[in-house]
């Protein structure tokens, strides 16, 4: 009982002139997926969009992988990049562990809910939702973040939760005050649900929740978001594992590729200007988003 080879017209065109001549075997497909994941992890880390967000479209659209396997493999790679980068971020001293841990109550519960919803939705609906989230991320990435005035008022709830802290700048330690805890907490629940539903890190939404709603300084928001992504993804991973979404043969090249790619990206990041790269990557993401929505609506996924 052998299932048909993946809808790999795309790869076959790459490898041979005649699509009927042969189909790719597991070794070739694994290497191609590894290369694709490496590139996605590299670009995702350079642009700050994260590699995870393009892996699922890549696997489903180009390699014809079932979206549930794709989501499972991506989720695993999200944990790898988050945990792998943590050591580097900690050195910079920006992470606010209390804000992160408190908001993780919202993201982990959201992730379990999202992963449970994913099991009940047809694959085509997941593809459409994925496309919409992808479009929004592309829009957010291409848009410069608006300047924000620091908040110097203490907020009762934030003080009670010991959120106010300080972070190192070139001019010494800068203290900051946090507010908007209920809004941030609610947004984090949404971020967690999307993460569990789509197998992504939802780093962009996490940063918005902290940076915009809670007035956490941007650098603290991004590093704290990275810390939270791994824990959120681990919460979904348990559910995915139970549902049989995590296929070792597929997750292996994705995880190893994205991890290596993002580590390389972090090395290069320090000496690259990323504005134009962000725009190009944003455009690629937008095209993938439209494809996902189209394939979802026409029932091809």
């Amino acid at each position: 009982m052998r299932a048909p080879a993946p809808r790999a017209e795309f790869i076959n065109e790459l490898l041979t002139q005649d699509p009927r001549a042969r189909t790719v075997n597991t070794l070739e497909l694994t290497l191609l997926i590894w290369l694709g994941s490496l590139l996605a992890g590299f670009l995702g880390s350079l642009t700050g969009l994260g590699g995870g967000i393009v892996i699922t479209p890549l696997l489903t659209l180009a390699f014809g992988v079932d979206i549930r396997y794709a989501i499972g493999a991506t989720l695993v790679s999200v944990i790898a990049t988050s945990s792998g980068a943590a050591a580097a971020y900690v050195k910079e001293g920006f992470t606010n562990i209390r804000i992160g841990m408190f908001l993780e109550i919202a993201t982990t519960v959201g992730a379990v809910v999202g992963a449970s919803i994913a099991a009940r939705l047809p694959a085509s609906s997941i593809a459409v939702i994925f496309g919409i989230v992808l479009l929004y991320s592309a829009y957010m990435a291409s848009r410069p973040s608006p300047p924000r005035v620091a908040d110097d008022h203490r907020n009762r709830l934030a003080t009670l939760l010991k959120f106010d802290s300080e972070y190192p700048t070139t001019t010494g330690l800068q203290s900051y005050h946090v507010r908007g805890v209920p809004t941030g907490f609610s947004l984090m629940f949404v971020a967690g649900t999307l993460s569990g539903l789509l197998g992504i890190g939802s780093g962009a939404l996490k940063v918005i929740a902290m940076d915009q709603a809670m007035r956490v300084p941007f650098k603290v928001s991004t590093t704290t978001s990275n810390f939270m992504i791994g824990v959120t993804a681990a919460a979904s991973a348990g559910v995915y594992l139970q549902r049989g979404y995590i296929d070792p043969g597929l997750a292996m090249p994705v995880m190893l590729g994205v991890l290596l790619g993002s580590l390389l990206g972090a090395r290069v990041l320090a000496r690259t200007r990323t504005a134009s790269l962000r725009l190009v990557f944003g455009l690629v993401v937008a095209i993938m988003a439209v494809e996902m929505i189209y394939h979802g609506l026409t029932g091809k996924i």
Binding site: G64, I79, A86, I97, M101, V231, V239, G244, Y245, M255
Partner: protein, 129 residues
Amino acid sequence: MNKPATRWTDQRVETIIGNLLRAGVLLAAAVVALGGVIFLVRHGCTMPQYARFVGEPFELRTVSGIVRRAASFRGRNIIQLGLLLLIATPVARVAFSVVAFALERDRLYVGVTLIVLAVLLFSLAGGHV
């Protein structure tokens, strides 16, 4: 071990946790790579079957099943063990934070962290809503 004068600051705890996480990820990646080599040597020439969702066999879906199967030295089982190690790194981080907050005598955050840990363990134990 620790001098009484040594203070458990957030920064110090974070540095330890960061290194712990990196070690966990590298270990997981090594196990996954080992399993991957075995998997590809044995199954590299077969046709891939990712286009149609059938789900993983039941023994590769639970923590206990994966741990039991890992000793069989099949490529897929070893990869799955590596992935489980990877999933465990953030869980270990949260567990470590419980201890760290306890050492800082921060009861509020011991509670907060325990809630997060409970959700994670609930999920890994196969719970879903």
